[in-house]
């Protein structure tokens, strides 16, 4: 891991500390008595606070997860170099794309 990746990893971790705390609290609370699409949409539809929060959350995940996986690939599978990094960039973009799609889908529904 380079110093720049370390910085990105730890910075995204700090963002996620807050985001995950909120997300976990919300999930554990909201799942009481079961969870329906209607209940989810009631919270997310047209809610700009929800939108902003989760877009930032998804961006942080898209940075944090691939860098973490990079360490594992290098150390446990001994996969290093440009091909590996390229694959991880694709994974990061895919995570952001899928995540943003889900966030907007629940906002615009």
């Amino acid at each position: 891991m380079t110093a720049s990746l370390f910085l990105l990893q730890r910075a995204s971790a700090a963002v996620l500390a807050l985001a995950v705390a909120v997300h976990l609290a919300t999930i554990v609370y909201a799942v009481r008595g079961g969870l329906t699409a209607g209940e989810i949409l009631a919270r997310t539809e047209g809610n700009t606070t929800y939108l902003a929060f989760y877009v930032v959350f998804v961006a942080a995940v898209a940075v944090h997860a691939p860098i973490g996986l990079r360490n594992i690939l290098r150390e446990w599978l001994r996969w290093k170099g440009r091909a590996c990094d390229a694959a991880l960039v694709v994974f990061a973009l895919a995570l952001f794309a899928l995540g943003a799609r889900a966030v907007f889908a629940l906002y615009l529904a």
């Binding site: 891991m1 380079t2 110093a3 720049s4 370390f6 910085l7 730890r10 150390e75």
Partner: protein, 236 residues
């Protein structure tokens, strides 16, 4: 009687059993010395000061890397258990309990764990206040005597032959905090390269076992921060 199993051989070998009378205040070094002097003169091991200053007697005692002169038998084993002695890990075994420390010091050098005065002769003595943040940070790690216990304890050193290791990185951190040193850029390059400080995953074994109560994990964390800060400033 105390039952002792001692590693004999090199990288491959076997544990040889011995029996030694239990004595009051006996240290593990006393036990090894008694075996070598009274029972088997072919046993190879190292010691020097025997009072916990030099670190030469470091070896693995019942799975833990320790100084044998500062390990009481009564503390290391329960009354009905055996003592198992092995050489330090992650260093090439020369014979029996003696290891080749060369790779430890090679990594020390690779981490640029040496003072770099620079070419320009300074005009005056450097004024280094002992209570300054840098000096306090350096002082926390400066007592290292290079005994190799942290190197032996580290899992990452075991997995990655190139990993510089806690001893080398700790010394590098003390020099990063030495305001007189003129080799900071090269040192940060050396410690933040591939198998440098970022390979540390805070297992904390080094900090757990250091007999000088140094905490290399935190020195390595300091290097991570220093390298990150430099990366951040470079972008601007």
């Amino acid at each position: 009687m105390l039952h002792v199993k001692v590693w004999r051989g090199g990288e491959t070998g076997r544990f040889q059993p011995f029996a030694v009378p239990r004595r009051p205040n006996q240290t593990v070094l006393d036990v090894v010395t008694e075996i070598q002097r009274e029972q088997d003169p072919t046993l190879s091991y190292r010691f020097a000061c025997r009072v916990g200053m030099c670190g030469s007697c470091a070896m693995v005692v019942n799975g833990r890397p320790r100084w044998t002169c500062r390990t009481r038998v009564a503390d290391a084993v329960a009354s009905d258990s055996a003592l198992q002695l092995e050489p330090l890990r992650n260093l090439k075994v020369v014979k029996d309990l003696a290891v080749d420390m060369a790779s430890l010091f090679d990594k020390w050098e690779a981490a640029r764990g040496f003072f770099e005065p620079g070419d320009a002769i300074p005009d005056d003595f450097a004024s280094v206040k002992p209570e300054s943040d840098e000096r306090q940070a350096a002082d926390e790690g400066i007592e290292c005597i290079g005994c190799g216990i942290c190197h032996s304890a580290c899992d990452v050193v075991a997995w990655d032959a190139d990993y510089l290791g806690p001893a080398a990185l700790n010394r590098a951190w003390t020099l990063v905090n030495d305001v007189r040193d003129r080799g900071q850029a090269e040192r940060l390059d050396a410690v933040s390269a591939g198998s440098g400080c970022h390979a540390c995953h805070t297992h904390m074994s080094c900090t757990t076992y250091c007999p000088k109560a140094i905490a290399p994990t935190y020195s390595i964390a300091g290097l991570k921060r220093a390298a990150a800060k430099r990366a951040l400033l470079r972008r601007r």
